[in-house]
Amino acid sequence: MRAAEPLSDGEVVHAILTGDVEQYAVLVKRYRDRYARYAARMLGSPDAAEDAVQDAFVRAFDQLAQCREPDKFAGWFFLILRNRCFAERRRSHRDARPLGMQDEAIAGPDRSDRHVERAEDRRALERALERLTPEQRDVFVLKHVEEMSYEEIAALTGASVPSLKMRMHRAYDRLRALLKELA
């Protein structure tokens, strides 16, 4: 006997919209961790990422009837999460502290001599990333942390490849200036 195939995203969305709210747990389980690293790097901590993912799932549920292509729920959910991260970045930007006053404990627990230099680089880079605009940080994280191509980022976000490249190249220059300031 053949095992039952898992429902597609479109079928799950249809079930939810026709009243089976509990099916939403399927989508939560399926996509809870997919963009967690993106959110963590955008917002600076796994805790902030968890709050953002939770908010985004609830918001996605509230707007589920507006998901035009239910079989592409993951991409649609990502845009909601991304919007949530941008809003958070915009809010925190207003309260941003000057360079050199950031938290010191970003580098993690690795203290072996071999990794000290890497840890210092990482700490400086994290501080510099904090100072990018949300749009610059977004494309930087998608390209260099999630390791997506410009074409993949364009398909996910709806932006054009040339505009993504322009944003990325400005981010490189801004990072270089900030890292020199921190050195």
């Binding site: 919209l17 026709t18 709210v21 509990e22 939403y24 747990a25 939560v28 389980k29 809870r32 961790d33 967690a36 690293r37 959110a39 963590a40 796994p46 968890e50 993912v53 939770q54 799932f57 609830v58 918001r59 549920f61 509230d62 589920l64 009837a65 845009l79 919007n83 949530r84 941008f86 809003a87 915009r90 809010r91 930007h93 993690g108 890497r118 680089d121 990482r122 880079l125 994290e126 605009t133 749009e135 390209k143 260099h144 942390v145 390791e147 976000t157 709806g158 932006a159 505009s163 490249k165 322009m166 944003r167 990325m168 190249h169 490189y172 220059d173 270089r176 200036a177 890292l179 020199k180």
Partner: protein, 211 residues
């Protein structure tokens, strides 16, 4: 002090060039840039096991709220089965009436179908700004998509954007960093503690009108 990377180094970071392709005078700059990128934290992030429960608890509350039910009922799609019981002569009469209605009303439908987008002019006062753009639901919140240009009046920036019918949310982005709602437009909560401005483009004979 030079703070911009050489374009070839940027292409190296983008993965479009190999290190060996670079001229020797750029290699120190490229090595430094690659060192920074290599230092990025790419550790996978796993969220707590209780996240699912918390989401579902909230979702169940939202699903039960009367406002949520009405909202989903209004926006949701459903299958509706409509049956008519008519006599053959009445069916012929209905078909004739439908044909007349089609001929009379069709031009209006065609106008609606072919209606061009409405051009909406955005004006923003931002003295001292270096750049201003408008980002909203109509351009996926991309601040690079619709830059404003300075007018002859000091501090006044403007641009014109083609918008389809419907309600659109937007904010102005000043110097690529500050997101500011339009003081001349109504605002709504963006759901994350900030305000978005709102412009509605309504249907009007032969086109649309911004409200």
């Amino acid at each position: 002090m030079k703070t911009e990377y050489h374009p070839l180094v940027k292409r190296l970071l983008d993965g479009e060039l190999m290190f060996a392709d670079l001229p020797s005078e750029l290699r120190a700059e490229a090595e430094q840039a690659l060192r920074w990128v290599a230092a990025l934290d790419r550790t996978p992030v796993v969220l707590s096991a209780r996240l699912d429960e918390r989401v579902m608890a909230q979702v169940r509350r939202h699903a039960k709220s009367p406002a949520g039910r009405v909202w989903r009922w209004l926006l949701g799609s459903r299958e509706i089965d409509i049956r008519f019981h008519v006599r053959p002569w009445a069916a012929l009469g209905l078909a004739a009436a439908a044909a007349v209605a089609f001929v009379v009303v069709r031009p209006r439908f065609e106008t609606a179908a072919l209606r061009a987008p409405t051009y909406v002019r955005f004006i923003f006062y931002a003295p001292g700004a270096r750049t201003v753009s408008v980002a909203g639901t109509f351009n996926q919140w991309n601040p690079a998509a619709a830059p404003l240009v300075p007018t002859t009046s000091p501090g006044v920036w403007t641009t014109t954007v083609a918008l389809p019918l419907g309600q659109h949310q937007y904010v102005f982005v000043v110097d690529g960093m500050r997101w500011v709602p339009d003081p001349a437009a109504p605002t709504v909560d963006d759901g994350f503690g900030q305000r978005n401005s709102v412009v509605a483009v309504a249907a009007q004979d032969g086109g649309g009108r911004a409200l």
